[in-house]
Assembly symmetry: C2
Homo-oligomer: 96 residues x 2
Amino acid sequence: MAIAELTDAERDEALGELTDWTLRDDGKAIHRSFKFKDFNEAFGFMTRVAITADKQDHHPEWSNVYNRVEITLTTHDCDGLSERDVKLARFIDGIV
Amino acid sequence: MAIAELTDAERDEALGELTDWTLRDDGKAIHRSFKFKDFNEAFGFMTRVAITADKQDHHPEWSNVYNRVEITLTTHDCDGLSERDVKLARFIDGIV
């Protein structure tokens, strides 16, 4: 089954909830930056996200430098934002 | 104790051994790209690197998108390449 891109109304509703996330200029992705105490804490966080992401079969685009993590969520199958991004963003928000 | 930047001769010798790594244009960092079977394998690799990096107290700058991992190694304390980068690169090469 194809993954549907969020409608403008659905996207606005999701962003109203995910207040720490920023919509990319092209409207096709959301981004959030994280800062932790040190590398160990940052990678521990990444590991929790990785396990859940792999279970959801929906993976972040992310980078890490020491205690900082940058995460971008987008859905390639629909070339934009989908419910999968919202679900993963909610999980991430729940563990930080 | 301050971490010494590699001399030009030491750097050339290291790069002669680390043939899969590319020296950045400014000479201050090395980079290697990795491609795995899937996210699970890519993040398993990252986890092995993370544990060793944290033990060595020398951390990579890296990003991951699904089965791809990009790693840059540099030593901020000496604003360039040091023996720490060579050591971590050798470990990484040993597990891929």
